[in-house]
Amino acid sequence: MISVEIPTILRTYTGGERTVAAQGPDLAAVVTSLDAAYPGIGDRLLEGQVLRRFVNVYLNDEDVRFLDGINTAVTDGDTVTILPAVAGGAHTARVR
């Protein structure tokens, strides 16, 4: 099981839950399983097959854009954190 931390702005989809469970084996599958459980949330995270410009996703605190992006492999026990970009933590989108 993968633990996913949801930012405030997206908790309307998760019924207010801060942390939800999802399935691998990669980040794309995590988003797919999230969207199955919480319809609509996937579209807020992805634009086509890439992360939206101002959405940052971290696997065990490391930015997935520097790993394999949406194709980054995840294993049981991992924590995925989703955050909006802010100054002092902002990010440009990388097209993959």
Binding site: P7, F54, V86, G88, G89, T92
Partner: protein, 316 residues
């Protein structure tokens, strides 16, 4: 040389010290660049002075002018010192949820402070400063997020100093705010050290700071170039405080909380080197000392209490 013609001339040239206790092995070593040894006690003295001198050289800044800058604190304090010595008026736009010491220091060096709402953090300070700039076209906004003099200070200073002191450097780890340190020193090191890893540690704040952010909006510093970085860590207050305390207890270094976040990423890279059976010399930045953060509660009580105290504060 340790003699300088003035305080401004003494910016930079900071010591690099080894961490014999926190380093995981003889072959994987950590090195701390003590930027708290700058004139106002933070790394921001480097870009602040460089931005002012670049603006003077370009004729943008003239005697008696007013400087306006969005800052969560340290850059403002550095600018305030330099502005005082050079005869400029300084107005800082700062989020209202930064530590009390920052306001006290800014006023001590003669700066005026205007507050931006806590929600939105530094993004909001940037937005408010841009509004004020439009209404006051004769004021000079140096704008650290997009001013190449910011990263140039690290390209010409921080980077070469690191290489001179640690020719065997394999990793450079610093905080990601304006991105100036990582862009400047990172570029220099990439050009001069084959295979070097440039690692960003960005602070992850509590709910208040992110709570109202819209995912369709965002702010990316104009200086930021993702291709300079090898990887990027997001570090929350719990780990930042834990590492800040380890640095104090095991190495005797009294650093600010953002340094704890940077140390966390540095230890993460050191751990990867150990697992890969590689040797490493990991240099990281001590951005400032802990003095300005005593009132945040980060240094007292249990880690849980400190983490709770930091919730809602801009601690980096």
């Amino acid at each position: 040389m340790t003699r300088y013609d003035s305080l401004l001339a003494s910016v930079g040239h900071t010591p690099l010290v080894g961490l014999p206790t926190l380093s995981p092995s003889q072959d994987v070593r950590l090195w701390a660049k003590l930027e708290d040894r700058n004139p106002t006690g933070s790394i921001k003295d480097r870009p602040a002075l460089r931005m002012i001198e670049a603006a003077e050289r370009d004729g943008v800044l003239k005697p008696g002018d007013t400087i306006l800058e969005p800052t969560s604190g340290n850059t403002g304090i550095s600018l305030a010192m330099a502005a005082k010595l050079k005869g400029y008026r300084l107005i800082c736009v700062m989020p209202e949820n930064t530590s009390a010491e920052r306001t006290q220091l800014l006023k001590m060096w003669g700066a005026e402070v205007r507050y931006s709402p806590a929600a939105g953090g530094s993004n909001e300070a940037v937005r408010v400063a841009k509004e004020i700039a439009v209404a006051n076209p004769d004021w000079v906004m140096l704008y650290q997020y997009g001013n190449t003099a910011n990263s140039d200070a690290h390209y010409d200073g921080t980077g070469p100093e690191l290489l001179a002191d640690l020719p065997s450097i394999t990793h450079f780890v610093a905080g990601l705010g304006t991105t100036g340190t990582l862009m400047g020193a990172g570029r220099f090191l990439r050009e001069n050290v084959e295979g070097i890893q440039i690692v960003a540690a960005e602070p992850r704040y509590g709910e208040l700071v992110y709570g109202l952010r819209n995912l369709d909006e965002g702010f990316v510093p104009e200086l930021y170039d993702e291709s300079v970085l090898t990887t990027r860590y997001s570090v929350g207050p719990a780990q930042a405080v834990r590492r800040t305390r380890e640095l104090l207890e095991q190495e005797g270094i009294f650093a600010g909380i953002s340094t704890g976040a940077i140390l966390h990423a540095a230890l993460g890279m050191a751990d990867k080197a150990i697992k890969a059976g590689e040797s490493a010399d990991v240099a990281f930045v001590v951005c400032d000392g802990g003095w300005k953060y005593l009132s945040t509660g980060a240094y007292e009580g249990t880690l849980e209490e400190a983490e709770a105290a930091l919730d809602g504060q801009l601690w980096a």
